[in-house]
Each structure stands twice: as structure tokens, then as C-alpha cells.
Symmetry: D2
Subunit: 344 residues, 4 copies
Amino acid sequence: MQGERMRAAIAGASGYAGGELLRLLLGHPLEIGALTAASSAGDRLGRHQPHLPALADRVIEPTTTEVLSGHDVVFLALPHGQSAAVAAELGDNTLVVDCGADFRLARAADWAEFYGGTHAGTWPYGLPELPGQRELLRGARRIAVPGCYPTAVSLALFPAFAAGLAEPDVVVVAASGTSGAGRSPKVHLLASEVAGSVSAYGVGGVHRHTPEMEQNLSAVAGRPVRVSFTPTLAPMSRGILATCTAPATPGLTAAALREAYEAAVKDEPFLRLLPEGVWPATAMTVGANTAALQVTLDERAGRVIAVVAIDNLTKGTAGGAIQSVNLALGLAEEVGLPLNGVAP
Amino acid sequence: MQGERMRAAIAGASGYAGGELLRLLLGHPLEIGALTAASSAGDRLGRHQPHLPALADRVIEPTTTEVLSGHDVVFLALPHGQSAAVAAELGDNTLVVDCGADFRLARAADWAEFYGGTHAGTWPYGLPELPGQRELLRGARRIAVPGCYPTAVSLALFPAFAAGLAEPDVVVVAASGTSGAGRSPKVHLLASEVAGSVSAYGVGGVHRHTPEMEQNLSAVAGRPVRVSFTPTLAPMSRGILATCTAPATPGLTAAALREAYEAAVKDEPFLRLLPEGVWPATAMTVGANTAALQVTLDERAGRVIAVVAIDNLTKGTAGGAIQSVNLALGLAEEVGLPLNGVAP
Amino acid sequence: MQGERMRAAIAGASGYAGGELLRLLLGHPLEIGALTAASSAGDRLGRHQPHLPALADRVIEPTTTEVLSGHDVVFLALPHGQSAAVAAELGDNTLVVDCGADFRLARAADWAEFYGGTHAGTWPYGLPELPGQRELLRGARRIAVPGCYPTAVSLALFPAFAAGLAEPDVVVVAASGTSGAGRSPKVHLLASEVAGSVSAYGVGGVHRHTPEMEQNLSAVAGRPVRVSFTPTLAPMSRGILATCTAPATPGLTAAALREAYEAAVKDEPFLRLLPEGVWPATAMTVGANTAALQVTLDERAGRVIAVVAIDNLTKGTAGGAIQSVNLALGLAEEVGLPLNGVAP
Amino acid sequence: MQGERMRAAIAGASGYAGGELLRLLLGHPLEIGALTAASSAGDRLGRHQPHLPALADRVIEPTTTEVLSGHDVVFLALPHGQSAAVAAELGDNTLVVDCGADFRLARAADWAEFYGGTHAGTWPYGLPELPGQRELLRGARRIAVPGCYPTAVSLALFPAFAAGLAEPDVVVVAASGTSGAGRSPKVHLLASEVAGSVSAYGVGGVHRHTPEMEQNLSAVAGRPVRVSFTPTLAPMSRGILATCTAPATPGLTAAALREAYEAAVKDEPFLRLLPEGVWPATAMTVGANTAALQVTLDERAGRVIAVVAIDNLTKGTAGGAIQSVNLALGLAEEVGLPLNGVAP
């Protein structure tokens, strides 16, 4: 029955997101079809993803419609702005999954302000844990994979906003490993620069993931939520740890807060509310599709503090993408997605 | 005139703070006198501080009044709660510098809430950059060295509060290297646990440095400032990067904000306001007594965002201590304190 | 048929080797039975292995015969010297797998010299790739899991010695991540000490893995092979990179050398001879049960240079153990063992 | 007398070697003159060396004869092959210090084999610790700064060869931090690739530093020494740890070996023979101009094992350069060179 397995193509197979998609698909019922890239077309995959010996001899093809067509699923792990053209040429019956930003935002004004140029459109947003979102993904044929930071932040705060326990004035500071910045060589991403150093960047409301966070949390809260977001770069390859705070609504108790989070994660296969007093570490989630959560009420400051750890490449990109694909294809949501991580 | 040099003893010479004090004192006019410790008394210093060959053959003595007395300056890098007893036995003419927490807090209630037990008292607080503080340190014979996080956060925000540009509702998230947690072996500080992982701890208003931050910023602001503080542990040895935010006062402009910071750092030898658009990285300050600062106005969220990088062992502990000692002894404030760091 | 699954107990479940055994067994047909430990008995496993949510609520039991008996397989990840007593009380029909050193060495004199005390005995040695070794493991009920360094070095050099291409005068220098040193907190394993530092230890023929390497290579070569072994500690959690050199036999050509290695790995599921010109990196094998190999002839110096990368916790301990267990139980050798790693 | 200070220009001021030269020169009697570079000419230095606030506002000039001339000392930290042309245009009275490889090798054949093209020539070799070398550097007006690996290896083994205690068949395996590979962005130097990974490269007698090691050790031994050299890349920014072994001469005792090393380092300001049983770690030397050495006799294998740690940017490049400059200018050899490092 091998011939009847559905096949997936990966555009951008030589990058980090592409590599993680492949690692996960090797344990997933989808068959791995064409692997494509731009400048590395013609190379063996082993040259770029030497941790995946099962695919070492596969040849990377150019990213063309001809190569990508004929697959049941096409994952696009391309630079921003390239996905719309590729998707347009693939049929409506092909499940196209964009790991880039092009189709995440609902408002053209947000796109113009943060990315510039013309907004490509809006696809079903691949974060099934958000209220109501899972249903929108079942049977979908277009999926916009969330940004890694918005995944983390939305998962950390949606229980509070869904239950009306926080005021819509969010402050987030997050640390990310370098793999989130991709594989193009740049001086500030060199090991010599990053080793032993944490640095801030994109400060002051200018990071492109900001409107995406606001979009998600506003939808949950039912009113506009503003987010002050500061990303930092940490000396590690994988992982995001986001500290997300908002003023507590008057009268909120620690017990009520915890109860809301327990209820929110109860049926979620990939959300883990840690035991009280245990705080997330990114090492808890390396290679896993989980989000490790903890929440508390800072009574002194009157704030809800939620902290979340994810693997930016797994739950934050490739794993999240496959989770949504499972829903779209009618598979069990957990298929092929690791619950347990690799540590230490 | 060698015989007339003033001499300094270091209690806690086998730990990280003690090692950094020694590194700096090797380039300082103070003569290094007795080196003391508890369990490592009797060892050569080289066994514990192998990066300091100039002192390798010095023998560590026990921390007793007998050994410490007779020095002009005594640095105490001891566990919390031990400094008062030692200081009481040293004469009033001895400059006693406590790198621990015992004498930092002004209010006994804060001590009781965050440390427990009886408050030892309050000494002149060794952060010369705070308005009016420098004068209090000149000629002092007791100095409480600030905590590493309060050093970072106070330096990041005092210009805003001194100029009345921020509301007193501060949110801080900071990443620290592991050396801030000291040299006692604990599982969660093992390299295997920390490598590749950022983790949160002490969340929810319970970290002991919280009241110290509030004390400093409230004094500057002239009204109570509350701080929601979340510390995180990053996979590096040295460095703190603190992201410090507060609501902007109505009508604040980016230009006014920058102007206030420029004015605040203008005559400060160790505060560096980075060029606009450049954000701090801890690598900018490794081994240096500087604080690298940047500030911006997040107009979308209506918040002042100040980010600061320091070396927790240098400006955050040993360098800050020596800076205050320089003032107390009537030396030039910059003596023996590196302005330039070690990178990459 | 769940009731008929064979069950495995893990003694030492709160350590790094225990955690890796559990991670792999979660994807293996063996059912996970009792989890035991010494000082952490009574704790939930989630406190010690927070990366394994599937087992978070399991309670750790004390390491007693009563708890361990009744399992089909018992993995012992205990400190050296404790395995013999435990094994003696388990029946001969129980498959006992010792991840410690107690039963690795064939000669009591080697044990006495390197470990001291009385030699416990010799069990079938769990490195199936060594010539003839696979057959000895089929149906075995006792298995001595090789040391992590001997695994790496033996895999790197057995092809050369089996083919008679190298003289028996081996020099090995290897770098290991800190997880190989275990989870007991010690100062030299603190993140602050290890970050940014490579250090040597156990130099001069005194490391306990030396006689094990000599035993393996001598058996392959059919004559005594001596090994000068220098281990180093690198700032990473997982991985061993071993550079293994020996004088080339007269007349050896690069082509003949490569041919011998190609032949040696041809049918091995977990040995990967990299394409010519590509050298191993430990990142190629993180979380995978593979050994990444490369070999060359240094014609200038007349030496065979073989370099190997493994994950010390996977192929070097837990994965290697399960590979041998698969053989012992008559399962397919590859069952439950990852071929692909987690990178970057 | 400020006007009479000698001035030094640095060509390549935006790279890692240039930055380290500047860091050290800020504490050295030479006045810092022109700072030059290629693509970053016109930038402020602070953009490229943000750890050096003392020079932040200096403007980088293009690397031209016009800019460089008129200095007493010119440091060239340029890509290989560019130094000869620059040096030719500077007068014979200018002290020209080449941190590149162009003038290190004595034999044109070695140059042709390892670098290709025409050999530029041979300048006095800046490793004062080698027997007889110090005298050659006094008053020199051209200095070839040794490679970082040859510095480490030569310092580790010259005592053994000078005393005739080792056979000329050397095996070296060394780990280096990434800063040794420079600041040009390349994929394999990205933090994401390097974090958590040790990798081998340049294996099999092909690394360009090999003939330089052989040249040094052969000169000391008075007979040809061959070196099998394997470099590896470790996840850290600074530091080299080299394990250097050679067969012991017949009858060598551990005591005689140690005695030879003690004699060799006795009058050397920057060589540290560690106490017996203590092995080098790169963290012992970060930012210092020292080499930390240890040696032992592996009696089982009949080999001398010497291990050395240096900071590749300090003793391995910039510090070593300034040490030779001090000799050339008639200054005290230690001037401006840190003996103590920065740790942890």
C-alpha cells in the first residue's frame, strides 16, 4: 500500500526549518517527496543536513512549480515574500503550508507597517490550541504556520485572556536560540559573537512578530490587546523562553489563575502546565512539540506572570506545521510529533 | 614607599566574587593582604583561582578576626548573614565592604519578608551613579555592595525616574550567567543542565533583589515604585542583560527620553549610552566595570524600554565594590577598573 | 496483547544514563516497568527528567531486589561496584544489562590496576559491531555495556586493525561533553567552570577506559595493541569526538584504507562512513544511535587518522545498551533506535 | 612628553586579531595611531569593537601606505598574501609586524605545498621562548607572528626536544575556539552549527600550520621532527587546548621529564608549568598572555604527553605579537601583557 501514502514536498530543505520538517517527517506517515532549495539545488541533502543519514543521498532540486506539483502537501520554508507566487501555481487541492510570514496577518495595515509592501492575504492560522482555531484547520488546504515567538507568547497567555483574568497591556521579554535567525551567515550570528553573550534586538515595538501576538491575544480577549515585545538572543541553538506579563484583573486570586490554566491545557496534547513551583527551561522541550508552561500571580506587583518554553524549530515551526497538517488531513493530531525531548 | 601602601584582605577568596576582586586588585594600588575562606583554608589560591598565576602560591587562611584585622580594607564575599559578626569585630577605622546582602536594605520589614530573621542594619549603598549617592560614599568606612540585578536595573532606569519620564510600575526580565549563583555545586548549575537552556526562576515577586530595586528606584522617583522582576538563567558564565520597562508619562517623546539619558550618563565614567539603534550585549562588558545602556520609547505600547548589560562579577559585584572603595579612600573613582572588556 | 509485552526496569532512573534509556524505551516495544534510584526514591520522575512528560507522574522506587525482580530486562545505571550484588539476586532468566564498568574487562589484573579491588567478572560485551561480537550477544542474559570512550575508539579503529592496516601503537585524544561525567554536582562540572573552556583530565595512561580500548583493539588485531589515551572535557552536554591515530603499515594506500572502512561499515546499521572530505561533528549524532566516521592516511606522518563522533548517552550508553538488548531478545537490532539526530 | 610616545598603526582593526591588539595596546606605552580596514573603512570603531569604549569614536581608515606610514610600528592583521606588498612600501625603520602567515616559513617548498604560490620571504619569528629566538627579536624591524596552533604546540614540546627526551614522531590533537577562524561570516561558524558540537577539520596532514610546527620543533631538536596534526573546533570563542605527544626516549623517567620542563620555564615570564596533577584548561588563560603547561610520562604507552592551554587571540596572536614588539623596541618583555586571565 506504499503507493497510496500521501507525499509531501519541502521547499527550503537545506535550511533549519526544512531540516526539522524532514526530521519529523521521517517518523510520520507522509512520504517525503521532493526536496528543493535555491542555491544548494544539485547538492546531496547530506551535505546540508548531516544529522539525517536516512536522507543523505537525496538530491536537492530547484524550487519550481514543476518539481513541487504532484505532491499532496507542500511545505514552504522560504524567505518572506516568496510563498504567494509558489502557492498560486499549486492547485487548490494541494495542502500548502507556509512556514513564512506571508499569510499570518489578517490586516493589510499591519503587514504594510511591519513588513512593507503588499499583503499577500490571510490563510488559516496554524495554532490549534487557540480557542476555535482547531476547527478552522480541519480540512484546510492552506495553512499559515505561526511565527515562533507568537506561538510561545500566545500559548502562554491565551488561558488568562480567555478567562478574562488579565488586562490587555502585555509586556513580553523572550530569549531565543540562534536557529530562529536562520542559516544565512551573518556576523552577529557567528559563534564567536554569540558564545557567552545575551543581546537584545528589535526593541521598542518594531519586531515583526508584534502584530501577530496582538492579533492572537486580541481575538482571544475579545478586545484590543497591546503587546510590548522585546526579543533577545541567547547562546544556544534551539529554544525560546518567553516571560509574559499583564496586569491582573482586580480581585484575581492565585488559585483562580491556576485553575484557568489547568482547564485550558487539560485536553491539549502538547501543552504542559508544570507542577507548581517548577519553572520552564528550554531544555525541557528540545526536539519535542510541547510547550512547557507555568503561571503565577505576582501579588506585590499585581501582575500575571506566565512563562513558556518551546523549541522554536519544533513546536515553534516544523512541529507546529505538522500538527496543523495532521488536522487538515484528518489524521490524529499527535501523529509523528514527539512528546518527549532530548536532554540533557 | 611600598611599605605605605594600604592593604586589603579578602574574605571568601576561593569563590567567584573573591576571584574577581583579586583579579581587579592586581591592577589596583591597594596591596593584597590576607586571603581567607572557610572550607578551602589551607589550600594554595592557585587551586581555586588558576587564572591568577600572580597569586598562585598564596595560602588561603581561615576567616577569623585575627587574620582580617590590621588591614585598611576588608572585602567580605561571604554567604548572607555572616558579615555583621565579622564587621563588628573590625575597628571603625577599617573600611569594611560587604559584597553580600546583609546591609543593603533600609527597611527591616523588607529584610524580614525576603531574607527572614533579624535585619543587620543599613550601610552606605555602593552605587555611586544614583543621584546623591556618590557623596555618601566619600570617606565611608562601611559599604554595602549592591546586588548584581539591582545594579543593572537601577542603572537602566534611574535616568527615566530622575527626570519623571516613567510611571512607577516597572516590569523587568533579566538574563544572568551562572557565575551569579556562586561556586557551590548544585545539580541545576551543572554544565549539562545549563548548556543549551534558558530557564526562569524566582518568578512572581519572590526574588530577594526585588525590594532592593524598589528601594533604589523609589528614592530616585520620590514616590513608591513597584517592580515585577523575573530573573532567568542563561548558558553563559558572566553577564546580565536586563530589559526594564515602565509606562511612559503622558506626552513623552523619544527625543526627550534620549536627552534625559544622555544627560544622566554624561559625567559618569562607567555608564555608556550606546549609539541609537545599537542594543546592549553582555559581550560588550565582559571583565569591564561598565554598564552598556540603550533606551527607546515603544510608542505602540506607550512604554519606556531600557536595556542594560553588565558583567555581574565586575560592575555587578567586585568592580562596583572597588569603585565605591575608591570613593571611600579618596582615590580617583576609576582607579584599577577596566573600561574595556574582553571580546569576542 | 499488551499484557504479553516484556517489561524492563531501570535502576538509576534519575541520572543521565537512566533518562536516556527512558527516552529511547518510550519508542521501543519493551514496556517500562519499575524506575528506581537511591536518594531520589519517592520523587516523581518529572522532577528529575522534566523532558519526559510521558513519565512525569511515575514514582521512583528504591533500588531493591524486590522492586527489580519480575522484569524481563533490568538495566543497571548505577555507580561502579554496585551491579554484581544486584545481578546476583536476579534470576538467570532475567536479562541484566550493566551500564557500569563492573563486567567489561576480561582480565582481573586490569580491573585491579584501574579500578582497584576485586574483579566482579566478565559478561558478554555489548558492542555488536566488533568482529564476532554480535553472535555472542544473541540470546545473552547478561550484557556489559561498553564505556562511552571505548565505544567511540573501538568503532573508529576496528576496521583498520581487522584489515591489518595499522601498527598497534595507538594515540587517541577525545573530547567529551559533560553528561559523560554524570549528574552528581561537582565544582569542576559547574556551568561557570565549563562554559568557554576545554580542559584535559586523566592524562598519562590513567583513565579507566584505557584497558577496555586495548582489550577491544587487541582482540581485533590478534596481537597486543597499546593505547595512549587523553580525554578532554568540552563545553557541551552531549557528544564525543575522538581522534584516533596509529602508524600505517608499510605500503598502505589511501584507497586501500578507505576500501577497508567501506567494507567494515557496509552492513552495519549504525555506522556511517561520511563522504570523503567530510569530517565528523558531534552535532551529526545528537540523540541518534549512530557513529559518524571518517578516515584518512596522513602520508606526511605515515599515520592512519580515524575520527569518530557519537552521542555518549545514546550510542555511547543507552542506545548501545538497547541495541545489544535487541540482539539478546531476538528483536531486530535497530528496533527503537534513532538513526537521525537532532540538529542544529 | 606625550608627543614623544611611539605610535602604532593597526591594519585590520575591525577583525578579532585587530580588536585584541587594540585591547592590549590600550594598556601599553605605544600610542594607538591609525586604525585601518578594508570594507569597514569609514565606520566608527565602536560599531565593530563595542567592547572597547575607549576607542568607540575613532574612525576606521582604508588600509593604504599613506595612512600607515609615519608610524613607528605597524601591525598587519590582514588576510594571507597581502602583507608583503604593504610592508614593501613601509620604510626599513618601521617595525612591521605580520600577524598573518606570509613570512613565517623558512622554506619556499613548504609555502608552495601548504599555501600555494610564491613565498614572500622569511622574517624573524616571534616566539621568544624558543631557544635562541629571543635574541633574534631584539632590535628587529620585521616580525612574523607565529600561528596560534604552532605557538601552542611549540611551547608544549620544545622543552622535551631541547633536552632530547622525545622521539621526533609527534602526534597533536588540538581544540580551538571559533575566534581563530576569523570574523568573516560562514555557515560552519554560525552559533547554531557550533553550539553543542565539537568537529574535526583539516585532518590528515593538510592543515597549514603543520610545516610551521615541524620547522620549530626540528630546529629545537636538531633533527627533522614530523608532526601529525589534527585540529578540532570547539563550542567556545577563545582558547586552544593542544594535546601533544611523542615517543619517550628510552630510559626516560617522569622525574627527568618534569625537571626538564621546570628548567625550561624557569625564567620565562609567560610560561606556567602547573603543579603536578593539575591539567590545563583554556579558562586559565582567557585574556592573558600566558601558556599553561603540564607534562607527564605515559609509561604504559611509552609516550611523553604535554598539554598546553593558551588564548589564541592573546598569546596565540596579539599578545605574542606585542611580546615580540617589546623585545624589538627594547622595552621590558612583559610590558602591557596580562599575566592574569578573566575567569570564570
